[in-house]
């Protein structure tokens, strides 16, 4: 019997105007999304490779002397990802440029990309279409699912048969989910059909698995709204009342809540300022300089002539390394504060299933805030690797003092770091490691759990309401 109900629901929906409109709207948006993405991705990729190659050739020029490689600040750009098609993760507004050398990595920066005068940095991706348009369609499909049948009198007829209520409910749920899956799948396929033939976008095996996971998470998210629609529909007598409540819930949870939480957060939390960071760095440096003798005699003074008795190279190197370590520590703390603030603001908005869904999509696609922060971590690790490389190569030079310290004057005039040329091919190059599906899922697991929990809660609510529903 449950099959018959599903069959009837699907057929009824397929023949309705709302289905036609939903398919038309979502498919056209997926098409636009595909074309826009291919175009933008190609442009971004060309731009990225140009900048990356420029940065590499600049590094090559420095490789005539080892110490120059250590001091050269390499610019590292964020590579555009093919899965940004699914979840762009507001990357346009996030940091995209990192500078690193063997001693320190600057704080991530955003280099001008977007037009500041446009109302907001919006981006049409799968996440947006599903979280806004299809979730809305889910409500339009379900608002009269139960109360509408009651009004028509067909619910009485159905229940007059020997069929338990939970089967009716499950049948209706499955029917709507199948109907919704059609525009979702058509849209995703169309979008992929547009994207795949372009040679620029290469999606690997892991990428396809991630896309499949994204499709499943999207269905999980849409299921929340289907269950919500059924719950409200089984609590109200008239479809119009159900629609009014559902629209309110949808508007509040999908549109207003993220904005609300942002303004509440902005009013309550204070941003760590750049001036504060600079002040702390100045204080720490001053403190170390004032106690320079702690690092050895004459650590605070230096003359370019190495044989000058005021010079104490090991002490000087210890002092400069201490300053650099303290600065790096402060930068790290500042970065952690930034990140905590940004994540806290988003967690704050997590009452909204749309935010949870978008966060899960970002985690699976490997984009968004987490990716930028992870990239910064990788850049810093690369800096450490570079330092190790410098150290090992430096050992080969008997003329060097083997004092790997961040003071350029020491390396230049004392030869604290080797001045020998270095084989450019052996210099470590930065390579971003993308997250595997396992790592992505680990990041998304909480969000998927939350979405599942919402599903279970709403299913229980819909179930109880429908069991007690007065069909007269």
């Amino acid at each position: 019997m449950i099959r018959q109900i599903i069959y009837k629901e699907v057929l009824e929906n397929l023949l309705s105007l709302r289905f036609a409109l939903a398919v038309l709207l979502t498919t056209s948006l997926f098409v636009i999304c595909g074309y826009v993405f291919v175009d933008e991705y190609r442009e971004q990729l060309t731009d990225y490779w140009k900048k990356a190659n420029d940065a590499l050739s600049a590094l090559r020029e420095e490789s005539d002397q080892l110490y120059k490689v250590a001091f050269y600040k390499q610019g590292i750009y964020r590579k555009p990802l093919p899965l940004a098609l699914c979840a762009e993760g507001e990357e346009k507004a996030l940091p995209n440029f990192f500078e690193v050398n063997a001693f320190t990595a600057d704080l991530p920066r955003t280099k001008g990309q977007a037009n500041f005068a446009l109302p907001h940095f919006s981006h049409v991706d799968w996440g947006l279409i599903v979280s806004l348009i299809l979730s809305f369609a889910a409500l339009v499909f379900t608002y009269d699912n139960i109360c509408g049948e009651k009004e028509n009198g067909t619910l009485r007829l159905t229940l007059a048969n020997t069929i338990p209520r939970h089967e009716v409910l499950l049948g209706k749920y499955a029917g709507v989910m199948m109907t919704l899956a059609i525009p979702l799948m058509i849209g995703m396929l169309v979008s992929l059909i547009i994207v795949i033939p372009s040679k620029d976008v290469v999606i690997g095996g892991g990428g396809w698995l991630k896309i499949l996971t994204l499709a499943l998470v999207s269905l999980l998210y849409l299921s929340i709204f289907v269950l919500l629609g059924m719950f409200v529909s089984s609590r109200t007598g008239h479809p119009v009342n159900a629609m009014a409540i559902l629209l309110l819930v949808w508007v509040v949870s999908v549109i207003l809540l993220p904005s609300f939480s942002r303004i509440i957060f902005d009013v309550t939390f204070e941003e760590p300022t750049e001036q504060e960071l600079q002040r702390r760095i100045r204080e720490v440096r001053k403190e170390i300089w004032d106690n320079s003798e702690r690092y050895g005699k004459n650590a605070g003074s230096m003359s370019n002539n190495l044989s000058d008795p005021i010079n104490n190279p090991p002490a000087r190197a210890r002092l400069q390394n201490a300053i650099m370590d303290a600065t790096n520590q402060l930068l790290q703390e500042h970065h952690t504060k930034w990140l905590e603030q940004a994540l806290a603001r988003r967690n704050f908005a997590c009452l909204s299933p749309a935010v949870i869904y978008q966060r899960a999509c970002e985690a699976i696609a490997g984009t968004g805030i987490k990716r930028c922060a992870d990239l910064y971590g990788q850049v810093k690790r690369y800096g450490a690797d570079l330092k190790e490389f410098i150290r090992s190569r430096d050992m080969e030079d008997p003329q060097s003092l083997h004092l790997i310290g961040p003071e350029h004057g020491m390396a230049y005039s004392w030869r604290a770091i080797s001045h020998n040329p270095v084989d450019f091919d052996s210099v470590p190059k930065f390579q971003e490691r993308a997250m595997t599906l396992g790592q992505s899922l680990k990041l998304a697991i909480w969000d998927i759990g939350l979405l599942t929990l919402m599903n279970l809660g709403l299913f229980a609510a819909a179930f109880v309401s429908f069991l007690r529903y007065d069909v007269r």
Partner: protein
């Protein structure tokens, strides 16, 4: 008869569940969030006041004219609670320098880069989203619903013209919807005014009045869309679905798509190209400066002694200079400052070309989004609140004028930058005297003469301690930001007119559809 129909519809509407839900939601959201918006405004105002006070204090401590390099801050807009616009997106400050003409700069936004500025909450969001849906929900069944119930047949069996029925329904819908609009506005204003730092000027009240009119016109447009669909569809379920889909297109698809399309159709000039242009101008400037410096290099070669002290805004002033050095520097300033001023204009021209690309893109996005009444309404609210791009451009224009006044003021006070007071507190006479005594002490032939000369020098130093006195800024052209209300109102007119035209066109279409409506 129109009145009877209107009254019946009004009563019916007011008693509905959907109306209650919509109206309560509007009131609730306003009551909860207006205080937060007010608190946000208070915070920004406090920051602005602190910045202005610090800046003014520092400006009053400036010792020499060269160091007048103060900041100008844009006061936060109180009406941003109604429409936030670009208020949080754009930096509202500019530095006054001789070398640079202020411009809405594309400089990297300071602060946390992980916190992208996204659409923020304001009062117009309630109208844009909730009241627009409410309008559609109120309107979707006014005709098709009555047909389904059979009451339309009954009504039209009376000797009443169809346009009267439609007008009655329209009137009732507008009166119904104006209830939440009025309540939301009144509650919002009352909450806002209960904060001591909020004070509205006359022009603010005009702006608020026009915002109210725009909100009513916008609500009417959304209502008429519902009415049109109701007249087109036979079943109310279909008119509702049509209404909801058109809403999602207006609220989400068009605002996003117009931005995407505008960025595609009018791509921005690359930043590298702009940087290249700036670098080549900078090279030209450096070349010219170098040539000028070479012409006075000889003068500098005679210089003997100097003593500098730090001044406000991170600058420094010359406390004592020997006369050769002082004269050489005067000569150099006289030659180079006009060049710097000329190049400042050239830099600005180059920057303006780059920025115009941004503005063209923005204007195209705006024009494309005009087909959505929600976007039109959003824009008209931002213009009226003074938080749109034009408001910021106006501020920067005022700052630019202020810079010109400051440049003229300094030029006037320093005899076209050639006077010593431009960079030093010592006068030419003092320098000459100081040089004479200093040289005497240096070149004294015997110990006795040297001691005597040094004593004379020290005595002179005691008599002329070179105490720095802050500049007398009595006639300084202080900056006062004047919001350009006339221009804002003028800018709002096209969008307001668009809303009115939409109303008329929609009514015409509804009328045509209803005249041919099959009531069976």
């Amino acid at each position: 008869m129109i009145w009877k129909i209107a009254k019946k519809e009004l009563l019916l509407n007011l008693m509905t569940f959907k109306f209650a839900v919509g109206a309560v939601a509007c009131v609730f959201l306003t009551v909860v969030f207006m205080p937060i918006l007010a608190a946000d405004y208070r915070q920004r105002l406090a920051l602005y006041n602190r910045n202005v006070t610090d800046n003014d204090t520092e400006l009053r401590n400036v010792i020499v004219y060269r160091n007048i390099k103060h900041m100008i801050y844009r006061p936060p807009v109180v009406l941003s609670a109604f429409s936030a616009g670009l208020e949080k997106q754009l930096a509202g400050s500019a530095k006054i320098e001789l070398e640079k003409v202020p411009e809405l700069s594309v400089t990297e936004r300071g602060g946390n880069p992980y916190l992208p500025i996204l659409a923020v909450f304001d009062e117009s969001l309630i109208f844009k989203i909730i009241i627009s849906i409410l309008a559609l929900l109120v309107a979707y069944d006014v005709v098709s619903g009555e047909r389904e119930q059979g009451t339309l047949k009954l009504m039209l069996s009376d000797p009443i013209a169809r346009h009267q029925v439609l007008l009655g329904k329209l009137l009732a819908g507008l009166v119904t919807l104006s209830v939440p609009v009025v309540i939301t506005f009144v509650i919002g204003l009352v909450i806002l005014l209960s904060y001591p730092m909020v004070a509205f000027s006359g022009s603010d009240w005009i702006r608020i009045g026009l915002m109210f009119v725009a909100s009513l016109a916008f609500t009417a447009v959304m209502y008429q869309f519902g009415l049109l669909f109701s007249c087109l569809a036979k079943r109310s379920a279909i008119s509702m679905v049509l209404g909801l889909f058109i809403w999602i297109i207006f609220a989400i698809v068009i605002p996003n798509a117009s931005v995407q399309l505008a960025t595609k159709l009018r791509p921005l000039e690359s930043q590298e190209k702009r940087d290249g242009r700036m670098t080549s101008i900078r090279e030209e400037l450096n070349n010219e400066l170098r040539t000028q410096f070479n012409s006075v290099r000889e003068d500098f070669s005679h210089s003997i002694i100097t003593s500098d002290e730090s001044d406000a805004f991170g600058g420094y002033y010359a406390k004592r200079r020997d006369i050769y050095w002082l004269n050489a520097e005067q000569k150099l300033n006289n030659l180079t400052i006009p060049i710097r001023l000329r190049y400042a204009d050239r830099f600005w021209d180059a920057e303006r070309r780059y920025l115009n690309g941004f503005f063209r893109q923005k204007h195209l996005a705006h024009r494309l989004s005009l087909i959505s009444p929600i976007s039109t309404y959003e824009n008209v609210m931002a213009v009226l609140a003074g938080t749109d791009l034009a408001g910021f451009q106006d501020f920067i224009n005022q700052v630019r004028n202020h810079r010109n006044e400051v440049v003229a003021y300094i030029r006037d006070k320093t005899d076209s930058f050639s006077s010593a007071s431009f960079f030093a507190i010592c006068t030419e006479e003092e320098s000459a005297e100081f040089t004479k005594l200093y040289v005497q002490a240096k070149e004294a032939e015997d110990e006795q003469a040297k001691a005597k000369a040094e004593q004379a020098l020290n005595e002179w130093k005691r008599e002329h301690p070179g105490e720095a006195v802050p500049l007398n800024l009595e006639d300084f052209p202080w900056f006062r930001h004047r919001p350009n209300s006339a221009a804002d109102l003028h800018n709002a007119m096209p969008d307001l007119a668009a809303l009115l035209i939409m109303n008329i066109a929609l009514f015409g279409m509804s009328f045509a559809a209803f005249a041919r409506y099959d009531i069976r």
